[in-house]
Symmetry: C2
Subunit: 130 residues, 2 copies
C-alpha cells in the first residue's frame, strides 16, 4: 500500500486556505486555472469528497442548493449574499451560543436531531455600495 501525491488535491487545499469565503467547484477551477492547473470537474468533486471524508473541508449549500466548499472550522453559519452569491462565515453557532433547545421545537419528542443549518440572506457590504 502506498500513497501518491496529487498536485491537484494539495492545490485545492491551498486555494481554499487562501479563499476569503466558501467557493463553488467552478470558483475552484477558476482559481486553479490562474496557476496553470485546469482540472476536470469530476476530479475536483472527487478530491472534495475525500477532503470532506477526512474532515478537512465542509460543504455548505446556498438557497438554490448549489454547493460551496470551505476549510473545516468549527460548526458555524453563514450570511449569503442574494446578489453576488458570496457566502460569509459568521462567528460561531448562535444556536448553541444562545442555548436554544431545539428539541422543544419538534412535533414529537421521538424525533432524533442530528444536525441543523442556519443561513442569513441579504445584500453584502460590497453589493450594497453599487
Amino acid at each position: 500500500m502506498f500513497k501518491r501525491k496529487t498536485i491537484i488535491a494539495s492545490n485545492v487545499l491551498k486555494i481554499l486556505t487562501e479563499a476569503k469565503s466558501p467557493l463553488s467547484v467552478s470558483n475552484i477551477i477558476e482559481e486553479l486555472s490562474k496557476e496553470e492547473i485546469v482540472p476536470n470537474k469530476a476530479t475536483v468533486y472527487r478530491i472534495l469528497t475525500k477532503l470532506m471524508d477526512k474532515k478537512r473541508v465542509t460543504e455548505i449549500k446556498n438557497k438554490n442548493g448549489a454547493a460551496y466548499f470551505e476549510l473545516f472550522h468549527n460548526h458555524h453559519h453563514h450570511f449569503i449574499c442574494d446578489d453576488c452569491e458570496t457566502a460569509f462565515c459568521l462567528e460561531g453557532c448562535h444556536v448553541k451560543k444562545l442555548n436554544i433547545n431545539m428539541s422543544e421545537l419538534l412535533p414529537s419528542k421521538n424525533f432524533k436531531i442530528l444536525s441543523h443549518d442556519f443561513n442569513i440572506y441579504g445584500i453584502c457590504e460590497g453589493c450594497v455600495n453599487k
Copy 2:
C-alpha cells in the same frame, strides 16, 4: 382582459391544503394522478411559481436543494428527515421567538439582512421506529 379558470391550479392548492407536510413536484403530480389528473411537470412548476408570486404557496429546500412546496403560513421553519426526506413544520420562528439579533452576528454593520432560514435535520418518529 379576462381570467380563465384552471382545473389544475385549484387542484394543486387542494392537494397542498390536504397535505400533512410539504410536497415535491413529483409528490404533487402523484397526488393529482390519484384523481385522474396527470399534468405535465412544466405546468406544475408554472402554477407553483404563480402561487408563490401571490404568496399562496412557499417553497422550501432540503439539504440537497430539492424543492418542496406548502401553503403559505406565517414564517416558520422545518425539521427534515434525513431518511424519508419528509419535511415537518415547526411552530413559529424560534429566531424571532428568542429575539435573536441577527445583525450582531454579521461581519459588518453594512450588510443588509433580507431573510434567513433554519432547518433541523435528523430522523423522524416514523423512521426511528423501523
